[in-house]
């Protein structure tokens, strides 16, 4: 088993979904059941492999890459086909292979208009390959390729299966992120040419740690990456694509977008920007931290002004990713641990919130908060699930959100030695204020949608039913994880800690 | 005969006559080429083209590529020109003079043509300056092919360049079928 995983595991888990998508192309469009089964089997197999990785992973040496695959790829630019996972990649990989099958189960009876499951499901599988690939790639060019693969399916998912404003939203999403990618690839090339080794191998680059790159150059290169990753995160003020994309995307798209796609940006910071360019990171860290905290407060204030539930949840992502970025900007082991935990927690929680919002949209045909109400009466279980997710999202201890938020705040009290302590402590206090606002908007939303009595237009609506089987199957694992991670955070911290310590050491060593 | 010819070409004494021959051929070719693109008679254009192609063949001879020269004469002068003439006939092109063979882009064409010419000339002159022709590369092949360049060429085609050759064959076949399919009257 270990040998098999060593040799083939990562290649299989990356390309199984793609293979599934190809098989689906060969099956005629009409046999929808077969299509769905193939998609589920492919992503299920990836999930099984993910579980095998979780079981076989050597947690004691989570700081070093494991299951490394290293093949020749594009020799002319010295780019190799390198895959590998460590403690930072593994939780995100696991999150991805978990979310996608759940989304597929949710889609079983729930293909958004205008239908065509064949195209829809194969796009999701293509997306999965892109996401997994990004998390396991250990070569910059390979990373970039996977990073960009993700864009296309998401563009089509929003543009074809989205809401009324889908064209605007999808184009905005595509252009905005592509703009960032352009700067990012320039930075990658600069890194290639500037470093002594002339390599894209991330292992070597991490070992080098920007040793041979001048400080000003590092700052410039980091700036390019900051745009590329920062837009994806998104950091204030580059977030405006997010609410539109989320609001217009179909439920499945929103869930994947919130759960995994946003993490590509933060993952990039942790995996690439920080350790490769320590001095650049140190120069940029205060700026990132300030923007992150602005994002926290700003996102929360914006949430308070929203009238559409999905848009509110989207803005809350801005605030939550602000906590993650603040933690990253401290450049400490504590902060990076918190950031990775925050990514996983945010993926689960906001993913769930979007699931629930999607299901509400199916039932109420609107997400206008002022029109909703009394969901605890008409669909009590859905209402309780929304309540649990809202509580988790506002960082309630005992649920997963807390372990992303509190350590993030904590880490800002004592940032890396070369950073300005007073600044970060001020930011810590402001960020803590953000938790109050978070409670405010989430509970405000919850009170207006779920408490009270149902408004007249929905009072006897037969379409408003409680949670159905497919929803239960796809939601239960996420809900369980939200609770379990809340009480056993070491499940994640055990994986991330050695790797995060190594990255923090690299980011502050230069 | 061939051996004599080669030895003749190989000598330094051949330089001057060869240069004179080249000059004459070149002048003819340029004039003919200009006529190809300026004449207002389609059939004449085809005939001027024959002159150019022939000149190219002669140039090949000057460059000691006799097999290519023969090929040039046979295929271009023989086959392709005939094909063109057939094309002219089949499209009922006016056999005499006609006024509207050119469009309104003549100034642009002249500018672009001169631009390309100037650029290439500049690059070529700057790069190769007054490099003499040097047939030593041929000599390397001669050792294998017993002083026979045609044989060497065929050896090269069927050994080192076999795969491109096969691909070209397939291309020709495809072109053949394609031409039939396109031109066939259903």
């Amino acid at each position: 088993m270990t040998d098999f995983l060593n040799d083939w595991g990562l290649i299989l888990i990356t390309f199984l979904p793609l293979a599934g998508a190809l098989v689906m192309l060969a099956v005629p469009k009409e046999s929808e059941e077969t299509q769905k089964t193939i998609a589920l089997v492919a992503s299920g197999a990836a999930f099984a492999l993910g579980v095998a990785f979780l079981v076989n992973f050597d947690y004691d040496s989570a700081g070093v890459l494991q299951y490394v695959v290293d093949r020749e790829w594009i020799p002319i630019i010295n780019s190799r086909f390198i895959l590998g996972i460590d403690g930072i990649s593994l939780p995100l990989l696991a999150l991805t292979v978990l979310i996608v099958p759940l989304v597929l189960i949710y889609s079983w009876n729930n293909i958004p208009s205008p239908g065509n499951p064949k195209a829809f499901l194969s796009l999701i599988l293509l997306l999965e390959t892109g996401m997994i690939g990004t998390f396991v790639a250990q070569d910059l060019i390979l990373f970039f390729v996977f990073f960009e693969i993700v864009l296309l399916p998401m563009f089509f998912m929003i543009g074809v299966w989205g809401g009324p404003d889908r064209k605007y939203a999808s184009i905005k999403f595509f252009l905005y992120t592509l703009f960032g990618s352009a700067l990012m690839i320039v930075s990658f090339l600069a890194l290639f040419f500037m470093s002594a080794e002339q390599t894209f191998d991330m292992r070597i680059l991490q070992d080098l740690g920007g040793l041979d790159i001048a400080r000003t150059t590092q700052i410039l290169i980091f700036g390019g990456m900051f745009m590329g990753f920062g837009i994806k995160v998104p950091i204030f003020p580059f977030h405006t694509w997010l609410p539109d994309a989320h609001t217009q995307a179909p439920t499945q798209g929103s869930v994947i977008l919130a759960a995994v796609l946003l993490k590509l940006g933060t993952y990039g910071f942790v995996r690439i920007a920080l350790p490769f360019l320590p001095e650049g990171a140190q120069w940029w860290a205060p700026i990132i931290a300030i923007l992150a905290v602005i994002g926290i407060i700003y996102g929360a204030l914006a949430c308070l002004a929203q009238t559409d539930m999905k848009r509110l949840i989207a803005f809350s992502s801005v605030a939550h990713m602000g906590f993650v970025m603040l933690a990253i900007a401290t450049l400490t082991d504590f902060g990076i641990n918190a950031a990775v935990f925050g990514m996983v927690a945010h993926g689960l929680i906001t993913g769930m919130l979007f699931f629930v919002a999607g299901s509400m949209k199916d039932r109420y045909h609107t997400l206008e908060i002022s029109r909703l109400g009394g969901m605890l009466v008409s669909a009590p279980k859905l209402g309780w699930i929304l309540g649990l997710c809202a509580m988790a999202s506002l960082g309630l201890p005992g649920l997963a959100g807390f372990w992303g938020e509190f350590p993030a705040i904590l880490s800002a009290y004592e940032p890396a030695p070369m950073l300005n302590e007073a600044l970060f402590r001020t930011l810590m206090v402001i960020a803590a204020l953000g938790t109050v606002l978070a409670a405010g908007y989430l509970l405000w939303m919850y009170q207006r949608t779920s408490m009270g009595t149902p408004p007249e237009e929905f009072a006897d609506d037969p379409e408003i039913t409680d949670v159905n089987t497919a929803e239960w199957i796809s939601w239960t694992p996420m809900l369980l994880l939200i609770v379990v991670l809340g009480f056993f955070p070491s499940l994640i911290f055990n994986m991330t800690n050695p790797a995060a310590t190594a990255i923090a050491a690299a980011a502050t060593g230069g | 005969m061939t051996a004599q010819l080669i030895s003749l070409f190989a000598t330094e004494t051949f330089e001057v006559p060869a240069n004179i021959a080249f000059s004459i051929i070149a002048i003819f070719m340029v004039i003919a080429a200009i006529r190809v693109v300026t004449t207002d008679n389609v059939v004449h254009a085809a005939l001027w083209l024959m002159v150019v192609l022939g000149g190219v063949g002669l140039n090949f001879l000057l460059l000691q590529a006799e097999f290519l020269a023969m090929t040039q004469f046979l295929i271009y002068l023989g086959a392709i020109i005939v094909l063109f003439l057939f094309g002219v006939m089949l499209t009922r092109a006016p056999l005499g003079r006609s006024d509207n063979l050119d469009n309104k882009q003549r100034p642009i064409g002249i500018v672009v043509g001169l631009l390309v010419l100037g650029l290439v000339s500049y690059a070529v002159i700057k790069t190769f300056g007054s490099d003499k022709l040097d047939f030593s590369a041929y000599d390397g092949s001669q050792a294998v092919a017993g002083n026979n360049r045609t044989q060497a060429l065929s050896d090269a085609i069927f050994s080192q360049y076999l795969i491109p050759f096969e691909v070209i064959s397939v291309l020709l076949l495809a072109a053949l079928i394609g031409a039939i399919v396109i031109a066939r009257r259903d």
Binding site: F334, L396, L410, A432, V436, A439, L443, F493, N497 | L115
Partner: protein, 787 residues
């Protein structure tokens, strides 16, 4: 001992009960309430057994001496400081006693155990470097030596001081950073304080569970109600057993969310859900203080969340005074919100929108004392940070005293019986906070203990009243004359009221008096400072307490019945808990009888049992000075309470005096003759019109107005302002400026495309021309560049 090391079973049991009720409750014959009652019953028995085994443990003779021996029951890895102590102790055993100069000469011979304390006190950095990591020795070895010296000094005073031996068990929760640098643990820290809370929480919970099974029967969310009651108990127990501050945060917020759910139990009505939101959000504001305070302490203690670490370091000067001050002020903000202290108390009266048993359990007896408990738990931080000893004013004491006084004033103007009790709770919590603020640690916890009993009785009694009065809590309009129809409720209410007012010899008297005595040397010796201002404020508070409770009794139980229908006594599941709690509220005062009252001395076996049981002695607790029982003060406060009752009694019951006044007007001689008698009624007039009138009129109304308009207004205004600001930011900055920039870029691109599309003519030859020209130009650039 088994119970002390396995205390985690108690919260786990309640959590299990929560899950069982949640998933299977609806299938059970009694809709899940039986699971809850059974679970809390077992938990209560376990808590009692734990208390018993703590009593034994606490009285055991200890092998060995000093702090290291006292900490022998602390599991390794739960506290860095204790581990250091143990290592130190162990190291000493193999070290020559005389070798204190750090020469490093080691002797494998016998150790002299008798000098361990001494050695600990005098150990210098050289020795530390030997037994500990270098970092530790560098940071605080010098300061560290001081505290141990304190305990040595105590021990050497002659009588052998009995050190408290907390039982700590923990498990790793998460590890962050390089191995060993920061371990986040969760576990149980069992000592007198947590055992006390275990008993209080399980006892009140048990009573409330039983009471609720009748009180909310027929409710449509009966099952959910019991599920969340169970979850609340679990969270509260989790909180009180907390071994690390981060575990405290978890428990703290979990009880908050249970409070949210239960206040909003009838969320169909908007006011209820508003109240729930207000409670949660106000608490969230205070939580900022908690989060920041914990963060500061975490780093100050060298990356440790362990409560023992924090306490040992704070008590021994291992953390600088400035940091402790900042941390304690932050934490006091958390106390303000959770324990309803001025200025964050406004949520508590509103929280009465929840079911009455919930108010009794959460908003009177247990959750709201979490703040008190937290301060008591981390007492060295506050004691050192606020310099409680030897001063006459500090932030904690001011907050408590102001709350105690103004909270009590507010209770006068309430018509709703539950709101009276709510303000009363605020005021009493203020007493506890003040007690902690002036250094009367045991008094605070003792008052917490007694208050839980009688205040729960009062709330449950109010519930019983409203059961009779058609679910109304309006005592002015819907009650009256209830003493005849609800005798059991009436008598328990009277007893609890007397206890609350501090009437001798009920429990409230003892606990309140201990607090008052703790304020320092106004009448006698003892105490930690001279907190005279606070003492006066508390006395005013105590006076008002007695008065408003008497008023409440008048409205609820006397006069004519003003409601409609026929009121009836509640069933036994309501009255039995009432009787049990009232009895306890009456008698638990004897648990902490003073050593001597004037000439009379209580035997040691019955005096100060509570203090001995609860208050820690040792390195993890500051050396506080205990006040003695203060006879003049006790008599004064008792007189004050009785006079308050009297004044109120005269005002309400004796309104008939007015016709006598009229009589004297008709008869001038009689009137003149009565003048001297009337003098007696000058007091009456003074009390009734001036003092009581002023207190219950303008002062209370002004306070109420201030409360409702200014304080509440700020909260509301902040919320509204945030929405307006959000709207403004969203509309003007986000949509126009930030998003506008993006849109303009797109428009510019589109315009450029509109211009460029004319180039696409479809004519191949133009393309060819363009292509060649462009290629030539580009190649030209290339050539020139290379050339």
């Amino acid at each position: 001992m088994w119970f002390l090391t396995h205390a985690w079973i108690i919260p786990a049991l309640m959590a299990l009960s929560f899950l069982l009720i949640l998933f299977f409750g609806k299938l059970m014959p009694k809709k899940g309430s039986e699971i809850g009652i059974a679970a809390i019953g077992i938990a209560f028995i376990l808590a009692l057994l734990t208390a018993g085994s703590w009593y034994t443990h606490n009285n055991e003779e200890v092998e060995g001496h000093g702090d290291a021996a006292a900490m022998a029951d602390v599991q390794e890895g739960c506290s860095n400081e204790v581990d250091h102590l143990a290592a130190e102790d162990h190291g000493e055993e193999t070290e020559d006693v005389g070798d204190h100069e750090g020469e490093g000469r080691s002797d494998d011979g016998g150790s002299d155990e008798g000098t361990d304390d001494h050695a600990l006190g005098q150990s210098d950095s050289g020795e530390y470097a030997q037994s500990d990591s270098g970092e530790y020795a560098q940071s605080d070895s010098g300061e560290y030596a001081a505290p141990a010296a304190t305990s040595t000094a105590v021990a050497s005073e002659g009588e052998e001081e009995h050190l408290t031996r907390p039982v700590v068990r923990c498990a790793a929760w998460a590890e962050i950073g390089t191995p060993g640098s920061s371990l986040i643990t969760w576990g149980t820290m069992v000592d007198g304080q947590s055992v006390l809370m275990l008993v209080v929480v399980t006892l009140i919970s048990l009573m409330v569970f039983i009471y609720s099974s009748e009180y909310v029967s027929g409710d449509r969310r009966y099952t959910h109600y019991f599920a969340f009651l169970s979850l609340f108990s679990a969270s509260m127990l989790f909180f009180v057993l907390a071994q690390s501050t981060i575990q405290m945060i978890v428990g703290w917020e979990l009880v908050g969310v249970c409070s949210f759910v239960l206040i909003g139990h009838w969320w169909e009505e908007k006011p209820n859900s508003n109240a729930a939101l207000k409670a949660f959000l106000t608490n969230r504001v205070g939580d900022i203080g908690l989060l920041i305070g914990v963060a500061i302490l975490y780093f100050a203690a060298g990356r440790s969340f362990s409560i023992l670490d924090l306490n040992i370091l704070a008590a021994n000067g291992g953390i600088s005074h400035g940091i402790l001050l900042v941390a304690s002020v932050c934490l006091i903000f958390a106390v303000m919100s959770k324990s309803g202290q001025f200025i964050l108390h406004t949520w508590l009266p509103d929280a009465m929108a929840g079911p009455t048993p919930v108010s009794a359990l959460i908003h009177a007896a247990t959750m709201v004392v979490a703040g008190i408990y937290m301060v008591a738990r981390l007492y060295p931080v506050f004691f050192e940070g606020l310099s409680i000893a030897g001063s006459s004013v500090n932030f904690l004491a001011i907050v408590g005293a102001v709350t105690a006084m103004f909270g009590a004033l507010l209770a006068f103007v309430q018509k709703d019986i539950k709101k009276v009790l709510a303000y009363s709770t605020i005021s009493q919590l203020g007493f506890m906070v003040t007690a902690l603020g002036v250094g009367a640690w045991t008094a605070a916890l003792f008052h917490l203990f007694t208050h839980a009993m009688f205040k729960a009785t009062l709330f449950l009694g109010a519930g019983s009243l409203s059961n009779a009065a058609h679910h109304s809590f309006d005592m002015v309009n819907d009650m009256g004359g209830m003493r005849k129809v609800l005798p059991r409720t009436f008598w328990t209410f009277i007893v609890a009221t007397a206890a609350l007012a501090g009437i001798f010899p009920l429990s409230g008297f003892w606990s309140k008096d201990e607090i008052l005595a703790g304020h320092g040397s106004l009448f006698s010796a003892g105490g930690n400072g001279t907190y005279h201002v606070m003492l006066v404020m508390l006395l005013i508070g105590a006076f008002c307490t007695a008065a408003y409770m008497t008023r409440t009794i008048w409205y609820a139980f006397y006069g004519e019945f003003r409601g409609h229908g026929t009121p009836h006594e509640s069933g036994s599941r309501i009255t039995v808990p009432l009787i049990i709690l009232a009895t306890l509220g009456a008698v638990v005062g004897v648990l902490n009888l003073p050593e001597k009252i004037g000439p009379f001395t209580f035997p040691e076996s019955i005096s100060l049992q509570f203090e001995h049981f609860v208050e820690p002695v040792g390195a993890y607790f500051p050396a506080i000075s205990h006040a003695e029982f203060n006879i003049p003060l006790a008599i004064f406060s008792l007189a004050l309470a009785l006079s308050a009752v009297l004044v109120t009694y005269l005002y309400y019951w004796k309104g008939a005096f007015k016709f006598l006044h009229g009589l004297s007007e008709r008869n001038r001689v009689a009137g003149l003759g009565k003048t001297i008698l009337v003098n007696k009624y000058y007091f009456d007039w003074l009390y009734t019109d001036v003092i009581t009138g002023f207190v219950k009129g303008p002062a209370a109304r002004a306070t109420n107005w201030f409360n409702q308009h200014v304080l509440d207004g700020i909260v509301d205004g902040t919320g509204k302002g945030a929405v307006v600001a959000g709207q403004f930011v969203y509309e003007n900055i986000d949509q126009k400026v930030v998003d506008g920039a993006v849109k303009d870029t797109a428009i510019a691109t589109s315009e450029a495309g509109g211009v460029l599309r004319h180039m696409q003519t479809g004519r191949i030859q133009q393309y060819a021309a363009l292509f060649f020209a462009a290629a030539a130009l580009l190649a030209g650039v290339f050539v020139v560049a290379i050339g």
